[in-house]
């Protein structure tokens, strides 16, 4: 800590603080345009000039000067005010005074400062800029005439997003912010640049001219897409969510969002939303009253084990608990699963047996505290972009070593000094076993490892996995495996990150076990910056696991439930928010199952193709219209409040389930808040939490681990049939689940399904970018648009699963790798 005097006030600040930060910490405001607390100091705007007595009264920028012991600083002497006025005059010289038509007006740093410093006239004259305005981009409008050249957009795109789409181009008075070759913007569209722009140079096009900043109420909430648990602020006017608003103090990610969080909100106020219950009569869905619909559902639910349920993990913890209570206590069935709970066996089975806890042993905050990151699949960035930002910052700012084990290269591979080991698809577990074997053979294990249960058995079971044998099967060299093992063992702190999800069918309990073994062997768990972090797919996947909403105690899992429907043993199926026709493997089988089941009830926001097959459709609330808690992938429990009033015609899932419980003769807590007190009392790690205590900030639910070595079963190496390609499935950066199809932002950037293939394969099959190709597997064939990328290794193709119009599950039946033919 250093002691200094700012404006005659004695203050202390950490040694690393700049004058600006020291002042801010102590409640002294220094005006600024070019600084953001997430970015490195830049010193472009000269608004933050201060006088330091020791520097003979010279004016120095507060945002780039470190605070030192004994400094005597003045932040607003008449000279400084004069200098700042001059800075503003010079900025306003070129800045068009089009505040009435500029959407930034009201939230504009330049406007606020001009008002504060009363810059009413200008001593200088000059021409305004005459840059061409980019209206063509569907999400980000660039008007460089308004730019003040603070460089925040270029820096955030480089330092945090690590894309580098925007940069300064040209020199001197011609300097402007632009893209490569002054071309159009074609990036990830996370919108971070819009968030930090202090003026109206970069604007969100979907929000253009919708409302003024001051006319909106701001509602902090939790993002409803992936499991990262980002916080966001919704801008609401006239009971409509119009935009997301940047708040640099929000969440662990400091307001940083991805394309889905920032631009994917339109589904909330979509005109396609269901507004009344529907009942199927004579093959057509007819509008009905709630009483009719719920009476019918209640009557068909009393069937014991012949009833099954699938729920989306986008429901709140309270709703999932209540749904489980309805099923177990009132209906009497154990057949329920959350969105592909089978896809989360890495947590429910893998971590459960290796760590004795159904949760990751590390948190997202550990990423930046680690020394080495081992990322399984480059898709970790695509499934959880904001976690990806943390990795970017760790690698670029803190020099964390990054090694990626993946079947394709990706965004993370491009980070400085990142090592990417591209292996044959489906051989992750074998490689991890070989690493474990190397650790044991080279005596790199932690001293305490041998005392942990199962060590001897593991050592014996790994005998076959020598680096040489595995290397021959997996397409990476034995030296690489050995190097990775020694680096992992040598790192003081190391964290393993891997995504799971409905399309990552290879990321099973076996993979989790193999990864856990590495952490336990080297003692890298339960410590800061260490452990295994499994990135669960949806916003409340971890919550669904914590609430026990997955197949257990002899209940059928998601896939088995559909099989049972086809066989006729399950007669009534309640699907809450799931869309298995698109997201579950094997389209034909799912369709047959949904056709075969006697009674299908679907609660949904939209009339999805699954809902269209239902006997009863119940319209429900989105996350913006209800209260509750979500648990993020690292067990951060976060409370959120409704941002808008719901349509009176629709009900929340909570209301539906409690109504059904009452109809079936049970009793239920009247509000989610009261139910949460029950949850907190009964769920390990949730003790002491309540809606009130979570109101300000989320809290981590503790994870207690008891390590044990378990032998992971490696599948036989996958060999592609001759003349075919290996198809791996996964998530696209712009989408999450099937919900993002109703968000305009994601659909502008990535409107349809595609197949990514390597340049080698593209030239072999004479396919060029954008060609429509037929992809066929043993289970079917599908027309997809080709995308030729350098990241795919030869012989491997990739396709995401989110799209209803061309569902990948018509050619994918749930196996980690599928042999396909691709032809024009």
């Amino acid at each position: 800590m250093v002691n200094l005097t700012i404006d005659d006030k004695q203050v202390t600040a950490p040694k690393s603080a700049t004058i600006y930060e020291a002042a801010k910490m102590n409640g002294i405001k220094i005006p600024i345009l070019c600084h953001d607390k997430k970015l490195k100091p830049f010193g472009a705007c000269r608004m933050c000039l201060v006088e330091v007595e020791q520097m003979k009264g010279r004016q120095i920028p507060a945002c780039t000067t470190p605070a030192t012991e004994g400094m005597i600083i003045r932040t607003s002497t008449p000279d400084i005010v004069k200098a700042r006025k001059m800075v503003l005059e010079l900025l306003l010289l070129n800045h068009p005074l089009d505040c009435p038509v500029c959407d930034k007006s009201g939230d504009c740093d330049l406007q606020n400062l001009t008002y504060e410093y009363q810059v009413n006239s200008n001593r200088f004259t000059d021409e305004k800029f005459n840059h061409e305005i980019d209206y063509n981009n569907p999400l980000i409008e660039r008007d460089m005439n308004r730019c003040v050249l603070c460089g925040k957009c270029a820096r955030i795109c480089d330092e945090i997003v690590s894309y580098g789409a925007l940069t300064f181009i040209d020199r001197g008075i011609e300097t402007k912010i632009g893209c490569e070759f002054d071309d159009g913007l074609n990036c990830e569209f996370c919108g971070s640049c819009i968030a930090v722009c202090p003026v109206g140079s970069l604007l969100a096009r979907p929000f253009k001219h919708k409302a003024r900043f001051w006319a909106m109420t701001k509602h902090p909430t939790v993002c409803g897409y992936c499991g990262t648990g980002c916080n966001l602020t919704l801008g609401v006017k006239d009971n409509k969510v119009l935009t997301t608003i940047y708040d640099e103090d929000q969440g662990f990610h400091k307001g940083q969002l991805c394309v889905r969080g920032r631009f994917g909100y339109q589904f909330i106020n979509s005109t396609e939303r269901l507004t009344t219950p529907l009942i199927k009569k004579n093959g057509r869905l007819i509008e009905a009253t709630w009483d009719e619909a719920l009476e019918l559902v209640a009557a068909r639910l009393s069937g014991g084990a012949a009833v099954a349920a699938l729920a989306t993990p986008r429901l709140t913890n309270e709703e999932l608990t209540l749904f489980k209570k309805l099923l177990v206590e009132n209906v009497g069935t154990n057949n329920f699963d959350h969105a592909a709970g089978y896809a989360h066996t890495a947590i429910t089975e893998g971590f459960a047996r290796s760590f004795g806890a159904k949760a990751s042993s590390a948190s997202i905050l550990d990423i930046q505290k680690s020394d080495m990151l081992l990322v399984i699949k480059t898709d970790a960035y695509e499934t959880h972009p904001v976690v990806g930002f943390e990795i970017n910052m760790g690698v670029k700012n803190k020099g964390i070593k990054l090694t990626i084990l993946s079947d394709k290269r990706g965004k993370l591979s491009k980070l400085p000094d990142a090592t990417t080991l591209v292996h044959r698809p489906g051989s992750e577990v074998a490689i991890l076993n070989a690493i474990a074997k190397t650790l044991i053979d080279d005596n790199l294990v932690a001293g305490s490892a041998a005392t942990i249960a199962g060590y001897a058995e593991l050592e014996k079971a790994l005998a076959a996995f020598t680096a040489d044998v595995v290397a021959a099967q997996c397409g990476i060299s034995a030296a690489d495996i050995k190097k990775l093992a020694s680096e992992y063992a040598a790192a003081e702190k190391a964290l393993i990150v891997f995504p799971v999800g409905q399309a990552y069918s290879g990321h099973t309990a076996e993979l989790a076990t193999a990864l856990a073994n590495l952490a336990i062997l080297t003692g890298k768990y339960d410590k800061e910056g260490c452990g295994v972090l499994c990135l669960s797919e949806k916003n409340n996947s971890q919550g669904a696991i914590d609430m026990g909403f997955f197949a257990q105690d002899g209940g059928l899992n998601g896939v088995e439930i559909l099989d049972a429907c086809a066989k006729g043993t399950v007669k009534s199926l309640f699907i809450a928010g799931e869309n298995p026709l698109t997201s579950y493997p094997n389209h034909t089988k799912v369709k047959a199952a949904l056709e075969a089941v006697e009674f299908l009830v679907v609660s949904e926001l939209f009339l999805t193709e699954t809902a269209a097959m239902a006997d009863v459709v119940l319209p429900v609330c989105s996350f913006a219209e209800k209260d509750g808690t979500f648990t993020s992938t690292d067990r951060r429990v976060q409370y959120f409040k409704s941002a808008i009033r719901k349509n009176v015609q629709i009900k929340s899932d909570y209301e539906i389930f409690s109504n059904l419980v009452t109809r079936l003769g049970g009793t239920v807590a009247p509000t989610p808040a009261l139910l949460f007190t029950e949850i907190a009392a009964n769920t390990p790690g949730y003790q002491g939490l309540s809606h009130v205590s979570l109101r300000k900030e989320g809290a981590f639910a503790a994870v207690a681990t008891t390590p044990k070595f378990v032998i992971p079963q490696a599948d036989a190496p996958f060999t592609v049939e001759v003349g075919k390609l290996a198809l791996v499935t996964g998530s696209a950066l712009y989408h999450n689940g099937t919900l993002s199809q109703y968000g305009e932002g994601p659909m502008h950037v990535c409107p349809e399904n595609y197949i990514e293939l390597s340049r080698t394969d593209a030239s072999l099959y004479k396919i060029s970018e954008g060609d429509v190709v037929t992809v066929s597997s043993a289970s079917g064939s599908l027309q997809l648009k080709a995308k030729v990328t350098p990241r795919m290794p030869a012989g491997v193709v990739f396709s995401p699963y989110h799209f209803t119009a061309a569902p990948i599950n018509t050619i994918w039946n749930g196996s980690p790798v599928t042999s396909v033919t691709v032809s024009k």
Binding site: C99, P100, V101, S105, I133, Y135, K208, H209, K210, A211, R212, W214, A215
Partner: protein, 133 residues
């Protein structure tokens, strides 16, 4: 004082007024003279065949009666214009703040004061009705 004197004084005034021009206006056959600064019905100024309004939302923001509804949109030239501009005359208090707030001289107040109507909905003046003809 003599009790008759005040009566005589009063009658004097009455008699004087009998020979003066009457103040009563035979409305509607006779029309009042409305001052230039009178704050009557609003009108939207037009320039180059288009309303001057750029939908900056300052008038609905400043309006104390919350009677102005503006919705902005983008035209073919990417310029901002008011796709909806409505004033609810039943709520308007004719304070003239909207005119004062307007940065582009798009809204003015006319000398028009005859605003009576038969239906409530007719008091909602749409953009078309407000445009200067």
């Amino acid at each position: 004082m003599n009790p008759i004197t005040p009566i005589i004084n009063g009658m004097k005034i009455t008699l004087k007024h009998m020979f003066m021009k009457p103040v009563t206006l035979q409305y509607p056959t006779e029309r009042p003279k409305v001052a230039k600064r009178f704050r009557g019905l609003h009108a939207l100024n037009v320039s180059h065949d288009k309303a001057k309004c750029v939908a900056c939302y300052l008038c609905p923001t400043v309006c104390p009666a919350k009677c102005i509804t503006v919705e902005a949109a983008e035209d073919a030239n990417h310029d901002k214009y008011a796709s909806v501009y409505e004033i609810d005359m039943l709520r308007c208090i004719f304070c003239g703040y909207c005119v004062e707030a307007c940065p582009v001289d798009a809204v003015k107040m006319t000398e028009e004061f005859e605003l009576a109507n038969y239906n409530r909905k007719d008091f909602i003046y749409s953009k078309e009705r407000l445009l200067v003809k």
